[in-house]
Amino acid sequence: MTAGPAESAFLEHFAALEAGLPGHGLPWLEDLRREASASFRELGIPTTRLEDWRFTPLTTLAKTPFQPAQGAREISPAAIESHTRVIGSAPRVVFVNGAHVPALSSVGELPPGVCISSLASALAREPERIEPHLSRCADHKTRAFTALNTALASDGLFLELAPGAVLAEPLHVLFVQTGEDPPIAAHLRNLVVAGPGSRALLVEHYIGSAQGVYLTNAVTEIIAGRDSRLEHIKLQQESENAYHIAGLSARQEAGSQITSHSLSLGGRLMRFDIQIMLGGEHAHCTLNGLYLARSTQHVDHHTTIDHAMPHTTSRELYKGILDGSAKGVFHGRIHVRPDAQKTNAHQSNRNLLLSESAAINSKPQLEIYADDVRCTHGAAIGRLDEDALFYLRTRGIDLEAARSLLTFAFASDVTGLLPIEPLRESMESFVRDWLSGGQGTR
């Protein structure tokens, strides 16, 4: 098979940019990048012939000759104000077109033991703190986009929490793409290393400020130390012609807890892969997700929870609302390894189809190799409950309003779980606006 335009462009980027990528000169990183590049060369852009990509065709992406993101363009703080407001005055790190923009970022006074920096500067300053963790969770050997990201990553967030360190305020990481012609591709890499007993709340926020075609290829790795508590919010509000392909890979030590919220609201084609490894006893993860899609949007979530040790628990709730000719894909996998006794896992995927031409493929999976477990999954696809609609109408609420109320209630099961008050309100009003046909307040 010959490589398509996107594939050859990426391989050329690597050859052309290798010397300028952050961390160049570090032998371990050079080896890692070369290895990843070779994997990508071998894997190529996934096709629908692969089971994991069966319902998500990347034909147009594969035909786009992307240019490498050329770093920050001037954007004014006012342009991102509406997005930063919802998180408040918390520490903020901003990346524009794949490069860190210190002028827009403000970290301020940090509690002891908390280190926030860009990955590139951390690699330049203290590579020894990154080496033991980078690409240890994310799989750059079998996943094409992770391989591509590992080979070409330009920058991203590095968050390190010393044992017991607590970052009480949410950390807002904003990725802005200015998307203009020609199409550009940004490869972002985030690394979170949470020491034993540490706590943090991280908001990973992707926005597009123009209507051009671009690709965001992001990979986040989280290493959650013993008894750490991490909350991770991913907001995907890319512009309407954007491709957004992201991965979250986490390894959890004993007693750690990760709560992930994913809100997928924009983009033309988005794919989010979550892989959580519960690698210690009493580790717990909660995955909440909401995806809204309409017109020709395509939204694809793949989650894998690997219960590798006994007494681990997981809860997962993903909800989707699809309108227009939007296509949704959900693939949730719960894997319980032999001897991971007393596992308790619950997964639920619910979808609402609002139009005749919307479609959903849901694939909840259980793979269980231990016996003393309690695992359940449920998937439901349907329309609004006729009885509930009738009830509201008997109370004098007209059909349209009743529909919108019920649909909003459907979504608020997930938005209601967001831990930051202004953000929750903002997302709820986004959903309301979206349901009434608007672009959503941005």
């Binding site: 269980i368 477990v373 998937a379």
Partner: protein, 482 residues
């Protein structure tokens, strides 16, 4: 725990009760597969030209399928399709007129299997089309059925006597090139059952057939075709046991069901083929394609299966719900023990408006058994108001077994409702404790709980089978818990 491990051991050591080989001269073709072999099968069976042409087309398609399907979760060494003999028939000198003329050795085999033909005829009112290896040897209650215009005969007989019906429906649900094993079956099938129920007729008895695999190295390639014409109803039972063999035997059957307007077919299976010994050696490879098409409006197809045997089971009895208001059902209990593997489930393809489907799947995994439920519920754009309910539950017994669930749900119509639920757990300690507290010993308590777990499926089985199935289940899982 010690008593439990003892129990597991006693279970594992239990011999397969139906393991014996009947010594009858076989009229077999030498191993190997080629166009010549297919031509000689067709010639031996005196088949019309169109059927030979159909077989050859299937064979040519099969040779182009370069690889066996690998997407399922079952693992087995590659099969040498050239080492299998594709035809074996008990030698028959002349036409049999009554049971007395049947080889006594053969009759004894059936006795051991617990299906005395003569008794069945008079006592149970079940018409049995017993198939011994590949050729049907005796058929009962035929007269009664033929009064009603119901055709129930072996496939070869149907080809000779009702070629129009066979030609019209053969391959209309499972096309010759459907999948690897279906293509192989289409090329080399030797016999099977054929049922046609005419318009408005309700078949007064359960039709039943027993399949056995006897000659060593003879893959059995059965072909079953059941047609229920408008307003007709038929209930069909299929039950299996096979003798003990060391080498794996391949069984690649195809079952096609067709219902026209307002018709209903109920297809029940109890499959108890040799599962291999406790080291996982031997046992039957059961690679079956079963599919029904609800062609007419308001028609219904219901699959019920109890799968306790075979080393590997790979089957997905499916329904194509083409007619408006048609109904598809799938009820399944699958048990895997020792080294058995099962990858089973169903496909419900909703094409027509207001179509409904129900899937109830109960999996029980013990020892080193591996079990997967793999299902597809597909709602096509035209299937307005389609409805599906799926429930798959798995019970795990022992810590070396696996239970997996791979449902695919594809919905392209906004007015439909699809629900899927699955749970995996071990037998509840609380329930066990409750039973024991009431003086019921562990063994009986487990049997009770497992039977309760499967009740939703068992109550769909015809009476004769329900008793057998529930017995089979308790025997299969005897003492396999701690």
């Amino acid at each position: 725990m010690s008593s439990a491990s003892q129990d597991i051991e006693s279970l594992a050591n239990r011999d397969y009760a139906y393991g014996f080989v009947t010594d009858i001269e076989q009229d077999s073709l030498p191993p190997g597969l080629s166009e010549e072999v297919i031509r000689s099968i067709a010639a031996k069976k005196n088949e019309p030209d169109w059927l030979l042409a159909w077989r050859l087309k299937a064979y040519r398609g099969w040779t182009k399928m370069t690889d066996v399907p690998r997407w399922s979760k079952v693992h087995y060494p590659p099969i040498d399709f050239q080492a299998i003999s594709y035809f074996s028939a008990p030698k028959q000198k002349e036409e049999l007129k009554s049971l007395d003329e049947v080889d006594p050795e053969l009759l004894r085999t059936f006795d051991k299997l617990g299906i005395p033909l003569e008794e069945q005829k008079t006592l149970t009112g079940v018409a049995v089309d017993a198939i011994f290896d590949s050729v049907s040897v005796a058929t009962t209650c035929k007269e009664k059925l033929s009064e009603l215009g119901i055709i129930f005969c072996s496939f070869s007989e149907a080809v000779q006597k009702h070629p129009d019906l066979v030609q019209h429906y053969l391959g209309s649900v499972v096309p010759a090139g459907d999948n690897f094993y279906a293509a192989l079956n289409s090329a080399v099938f030797t016999d099977g059952s054929f049922v046609y129920v005419p318009k408005g007729v309700r078949c007064p008895m359960e039709l039943s057939t027993y399949f056995r695999i006897n000659a060593a190295n003879t893959g059995q390639f059965e072909r079953t075709l059941i047609i229920a014409d408008a307003g007709a109803y038929v209930s069909y039972l299929e039950g299996c046991t096979a003798p003990m063999r060391d080498e794996n035997q391949l069984h690649a059957a195809v079952v096609e069901l067709i219902t026209l307007d307002d018709a209903e077919i109920k297809y029940s299976t109890v499959q108890n083929w040799y599962p291999g010994n406790k080291e996982g050696k031997g046992g039957i490879y059961n690679f079956v394609t079963k599919r029904g098409k609800c062609k007419g409006d308001r028609s219904k197809i219901s699959w019920t299966q109890v799968e306790t045997g075979s080393a590997i089971t790979w089957k997905y009895p499916s329904c194509i719900l083409q007619g408006d208001y048609s109904v598809g059902e799938f009820y399944s209990v699958a048990v895997t023990n020792n080294w058995q593997q099962a990858d089973t489930g169903t496909k419900m393809i909703h094409l027509g408006k207001n179509t409904r489907s129900t899937i109830i799947s109960k999996g029980i995994s013990a020892g080193h058994g591996e079990q997967s439920y793999r299902g597809l519920v597909q709602i096509r754009p035209r299937a307005t108001n389609a409805r599906n309910y799926t429930q798959c539950d798995s019970l795990l017994i022992g810590d070396r077994c696996g239970a997996h669930t791979f449902p695919y749900i594809e919905v392209k119509n906004a007015s439909s409702i699809v629900e899927h639920e699955a749970t995996t757990s071990k037998i509840s300690d609380d329930q066990l404790f409750y039973c024991q507290q009431r003086g019921i010993d562990t063994e009986d308590a487990i049997s009770m709980l497992v039977n309760g777990f499967c009740k939703q499926v068992f109550r769909e089985l015809p009476m004769e089978f329900a008793v057998e199935a529930s017995k089979l289940l308790s025997v299969s899982l005897e003492g396999s818990i701690g």
